[in-house]
Amino acid sequence: MSTSDSRAAGGTSRRRRGPRTWLAALPLLVFTGLCFGIPLGAMAFGAVTRTDRASGATRLTGEHLARSLQGPYLGSLVGSVQLSALTALVGGVLGVVIAQAVVTSRSKGLRSAALTASGVLANFGGVPLAFAFIATVGISGVVTQLADLGSLGWSLYSFTGLTVVYLYFLIPLMVLVIAPALDGLRPQWREAAQSSGATGWQFWRHVGLPVLAPSLLGGFVLLFGTAFAAHATAAALVGGSVPLVTLKIADALSGNVLTGQENVALALGLDMILIAGLVMAVYLPLQRRSARWLR
């Protein structure tokens, strides 16, 4: 009797707690459902259907998705992944090095200056950034003229040029994301490692990097996503000469040349979400694993 009572009581209390927690999360769920669900649904619907122009009848089709994975569209997806992965990697490494230098320096002024500047620069993108670069290191840019960069083979309007421009806002972003994590590395751990006879490399190999791993991975994923979704800067700088998926979507969705390409643009959007999902799928288990070491 008593056991079943308590079990029943436990059951009801659990049941009672259930709906309440669910209620607390309701605003978030509604928000997510409205702001992400509806556009995603509309995009997915458009990507797999075709509406006949004259009759207005809609039917299911896989042709848009197939087209989005062929020819120049596939090329643009590959180009975007390459550019994002490269810039996230380089930006991530440089960002960590800079953040570590700032965090370990004893100057408080340097620290706050660097973090404030990072906060500003990480949000400096789009056409203004592109034009700033054009005016500085474009073909007739000030620095290009002074340092004669042109004869050294420098070109802003190329894959390399775009990488440099992206790093301009990705490195500060990494500094912002990783600085708190670097702060979390206690000096005592390092002292303990040193007094146990560990070299600097051994400390990083066995203590520092494992502790930082989740933040590093998170930073990389954030940088990858930022670079992957960037559009305005690239559009102003390289037009169609560096194939990027965001530029292709803009061409198909809002151009003056190609008609009836809207659904292919939606399919490309779906491809982008899938790629972002894949990156997250790699990141999440790894993060969970390194989080376990940290306990």
Partner: protein
């Protein structure tokens, strides 16, 4: 204070709402008994010519009753649209709501579809020819014959009057003579090593109509045809390889800065730059290259569900009057009635002499040729340029 002012605001809103309802109630029988339908019994939204209104005065009256006109994608510095809008407002006392001036043709079509039945849907559209054709196929446009309809060449209008060309221009080479010793005159010139890192297009040809025109013209200059744009793509591939081509999109800012000292663009835009940057260290010269003559016109159409149907039709009459055509001409664009107006002397002679010189008469690609060229371009452009 706050609450009383809020109450006052509410009262104003309420009375405004009552007024609108009242006037709306009054408007319905009015349209049947008076105004447009008086003589003909045709609603403004179904009117296919001025005759359906009875007279030009009746059209003006009907448009003024609506009091406003929604336009979209009309940049004030493009073909003199800023002045055209002001002139229309002043002449007919109708407020023009200009939405998203930098929108593309695809955006215009999207706005027509997504705002169907809404008060802020665009009334009239200025479209790239491909979008005029596809929009007509989708039954998005109202057929309307402006008074000057018969004077528009047959090749420049839809037989059912759902769209007709408005103004156009030639692909031209703009060049900053202050920075470039000898300005290029032809597409062949552009390949010379002296123009390394100097030649730009107005945008990406898979997106921008003027850049697309540039590739078409380059194709004609290199033994291509309307059906075959590949030589044009190859030409830009070659230009890229030699280092002459820079992919940055030429804009007024890059022109002024000298970053795009040579820019392939519509002649009316290039001529506009020449005027805009006179005395700012930019000596902008405009040439229509003799080896690749390509002209293209934009088209005008009325939204079939226009919220202000009479104002939309009045706008069309205005654009195709001598006054409207001359205003485009003043913006260095070539209005569709220009040949006739030159003959009968109504064209603004000053503006005509300012147009860049062109040899011969333009030809236009057929619909199928255009589609094929676009498909080829979308497929091949990336590869040629990377």
């Amino acid at each position: 204070m706050l609450s009383s002012s809020a109450r006052r605001g509410a009262a104003v809103l309420l009375s405004a709402a009552v007024l609108t309802t009242l006037s709306a109630c009054g408007a319905a029988p009015d349209q049947k008994s008076g105004g447009a339908g008086a003589k003909t019994g045709v609603q403004p939204s179904a009117a296919a010519s001025v005759a359906d209104f009875g007279s030009m005065e009746a059209l003006v009256a009907a448009a003024q009753k609506e009091g406003k006109l929604n336009v979209i994608a009309l940049p004030p510095d493009w073909a003199n649209y800023g002045e055209i809008i002001k002139a229309f407002e002043a002449k007919y006392k109708i407020k023009v709501n200009s939405e998203n001036p930098d929108a593309s043709s695809a955006d215009e079509i999207a706005a027509v579809k997504s705002r169907k039945g809404q008060d802020r849907a665009p009334d009239v559209l200025d479209l790239g020819i491909a979008f005029a054709r596809s929009g007509a196929a989708e039954k998005l446009f109202a057929p309307y014959k402006v008074t000057a309809w018969d004077k528009i060449p047959v090749s420049q209008k839809d037989a059912d009057a759902r769209w007709y060309n408005d103004y156009g221009g030639y692909v031209s080479i703009g060049c900053d003579a202050a920075r470039i010793a000898t300005c290029p005159k032809t597409f062949a010139d552009l390949l010379k090593p002296e123009y390394k890192g100097k030649v730009a297009l107005n945008g990406n040809p898979t997106k921008s109509g003027s850049a697309f025109g540039g590739v078409y013209a380059a194709s004609l200059a290199n033994k291509g045809s309307f059906a075959d744009i590949q030589p044009g793509i190859d030409f830009f591939g070659q230009l890229k390889k030699s280092g002459n081509f820079i992919p940055v999109e030429s804009t007024p800012a890059t022109v002024e800065k000298g970053e795009t000292p040579i820019s392939i663009d519509w002649d009316y835009l290039n001529a506009g730059y020449a005027e805009q940057f006179k005395g700012k260290g930019v000596d902008w010269k405009v040439t229509v290259p003799a080896d690749g003559v390509f002209a293209q016109f934009y088209s005008q159409a009325i939204n079939v569900d226009a919220p202000n149907p009479a104002a939309a039709r009045l706008w069309m009459e205005f654009l195709y009057s001598a006054e409207g055509q001359n205003l485009w001409l003043k913006g260095h664009a070539r209005p569709v009635l220009l040949p006739l107006m030159t003959e009968d002397g109504t064209a603004d002679k000053d503006a005509v002499t300012k147009l860049p010189q062109v040899q011969g008469t333009p030809a236009f690609p057929a619909s199928a040729e255009l589609d094929r060229a676009k498909a080829t371009l979308a497929e091949k452009w990336d590869k040629a340029l990377s």
